[in-house]
Every structure is written in structure tokens, then in C-alpha cells.
Amino acid sequence: MATRGFTGRNSGSDLSDRIPPGQHLVENFPVLTAGPTPRIEPADWTFTLKVGPRPIKVWSWSEFNALPRTRMTRDIHCVTAWSKLNTAWEGVTIDDILADAGLSAPTPFALAHCYDGYSTNVPLADLAAGKAMVALNYESQPLPRDHGGPARLLVPHLYFWKSAKWVNGLQFTERDEAGFWELRGYHIYGDPWREQRYTHD
């Protein structure tokens, strides 16, 4: 249904291979968070890897920072319909985290847990093979607090709520267990190219 009188700012642009359906480009980096921004000092920061309820390994900030670093430049897509191209990140891939813990493919699914109580579920297939990382830097600077600093998950090919801010752990689960937004009406998987915004999309 065409809307009477609407032409659109990006109408006719040829970025359709970069911008998923229903998304529009932004130059700024909007912040969307459901509560206050947590304040976490690197000295207090830890990252815990669990399989089911069982903790496998806990890293301190300095131990985590000693893991191999990877850079990724990716387009990101927020469910509130903005997309941002060529965002540059640096961090530790999930593959390298698993390797350091001596694990390969613990279970098919995972839940990321965060300092503010937030959680989100991502299949292992979307975390492994260089697809995702725990990001520590954004555009060559330490990750700002309101964008999830000191560390956030980065799963750039899914809607950005999956890239959980203030991440403090990854828990591998046998079943795909819904996280915070997934329990509140958002899609269990969240593929922007299939416009999986809400539960029944």
C-alpha cells in the first residue's frame, strides 16, 4: 500500500544489498537500553563460560584481554529499523574463547548473560566460525559505557538486540531458551534479512 504523499529520503538508493527490508541508514549510533546504564570497572569485570549450570572457566579483565584479538568491520541492524554500515570492532571471537576453555561445540545453543540482568539466546552456529565476538573496542577506542562497555557481545548478522551490552558470560544450553526480549515479544532468532522482528514474523 503506497502512503499518499510519501516519497522517502532513501527512495531509489541502490544499497538494497546492504540494507535489509524495512531498515533505514543512520550516521549516528543510537542507544536503546531498557534500564540505567551499568557502571562496571574493568577491575571488577569477569567473564564466565558455563555449560548448563556448570561453570567451565572464569576470566578476569586482564586474562580476557590476553586472549587473541580479532577485528571485524560489519553492517549492523537494529530492530527499531536503523542500520549502520561499516562499524569497526575489535575483540575476542567466540571460537577463541571456547578454545581457551578447551571446548569445541558444547551444545547447539547459548544464552549470553549481562551485568544488568539482560540475557539473549543465540545458536552456536551463529556464534562460531568467526561470526561473533565479545567486543572490547569500537572504532579503535575502548567501548563506551552506553554502548555496552567494557564488553559487549557482537553478533552482527542478527538484529542488534542479540549483541548484548555489558556481557559477563556465555551459557551453553541444550535447548534454545528465550532471553529477555525474546520473552517479551521479540523473535527467537532475529534475522534482519527475513525481517524476524517479533515472535510470529
Binding site: 502512503t3 499518499r4 516519497t7 522517502g8 524495512g22 534500564g35 540482568g117 552506553d146 517479533y198
Partner: protein, 248 residues
Amino acid sequence: MTDAAVAAARWQRCTIDEIVARTPTIKSFFLRLTQRFDYKAGQHVDIRLTAPDGYTAMRSYSIASAPSGSDMIELAIERLADGEVSPFFHDVAQVGDTIELRGPLGGHFLWPGRSETPVLLIGAGSGVAPLMAMIRYRKASAEPVPVALLLSSRTWNDVLFRDELLELESSLSDFRLALALTRERPTRPTDFGKRIDAPMVADVAARLSASPGRVFVCGSNAFVEIAADAALGLGLKAGAIKTERYGT
């Protein structure tokens, strides 16, 4: 939790029934739904505009009207210069136009419902929209919840829903209103003539009969950061402070 609401969140067409200029930069749009839905105060809808070539633009807007069972909802949209969607609503959209929308959406920034714990609402500009739905609902439902609203606006004339809020302040016994005008000196002694800060939030919280158990903050990210930190400073747990950030 909001399963029923989610199932109903399909795209539908609605008609612009009425347009009301609220402030120099904010207009209310009354939309008549073809498929009525139940929603909670605090929820939003997604609006989708489609160009003749099929290009679409989508944005979220909070529902400012109180849940009432009506097939009409009110959105309050602020005109952002150079924006794509909000100038369309202000400059092009007319009564009788058909608009695509889906809702209700959002399962977090929700009026807590049956509870007598005082609620502190903090908003800036058009960010009062979901808070207005809560205040209107609070009035209509006669729930005995004390509510205080701290609302930041540029000037007296930029205060969204000003006359209705002033009326509620005098007619609703446990509703407190404090305006923070950032570009004008206030005339009422209970208002502030500066940007929001932690002492201001504490001052307004203290006007409630008991300390607030819930805080809702809505506005730009920069505003929400200050207000949410100030609410933490009141001693509230982070989980009791809900924020809605309009992105910018």
C-alpha cells in the same frame, strides 16, 4: 507475558481521524484502527510508510492515549528537521489518510498495574507520550497509586499536554507535576528553570507521599542517562528503573 498482545501485532491499516497541534513542534494524531487491540500504558506501535516505488520507512511511536477499549489511539509526534517520517506527518499527512501500523509492541516499559507503590515518571519533550498514557490510565482506572511527573521542555509553550497536565494536577489528589523549563524562567514556584539534575529528581521524588518504588524515564538517550542515574541515586535498584530511549 504479553503473548496475547504479540499475537495481535500484525500490520493493519488505520485512518487519521483528527490532527491536533499540541506545541509549536508536536502534533497529536488520532488514528482509528481497523482491528482494535488491547494494550498496556507504555507500549508503542510501529508505523510504516510506503513510497510509490515500494520503498518503506518504519518508525516507532508511543501510544499516548490510555487503554480504554476504544478503536482510536493517539500518537504525539515531534517534528525533527530533516527527519524522514516525522516531517511527513507534520507537513503532508491529512485527516482521512490511510497509514499502516502494527502494535501493540514493547513488553518492558509498562505501567505496573495494581500496586500502591508510588511511581515517579520522568520525561523530556515528546518523551512524555508513554508517561501520559500511564497518567491518563491512572486517572481513568482510579487505582490508588501516587504519581509524580517531572517533565523537561524548552519553554512553557513546548510543554506537551500542558493544559491537561495542569488540570490533572489540580483535580487528581495524588498526582504531582513539576516542569523543568530549559530555555525560559518558570512562573510557578514548583517548577524549575534549568536542565534536569540529580537534586531536582530527588526534590520531585520527595513530593510523593512515600518514596517511589518504580521509576519510568523516557526521552533522548542523553536525557535518560542523567535521569536514570539520578533515580539510582535515590537508592532504587536498577531493575525498578525502566527506560525508553527514543534513539537519538
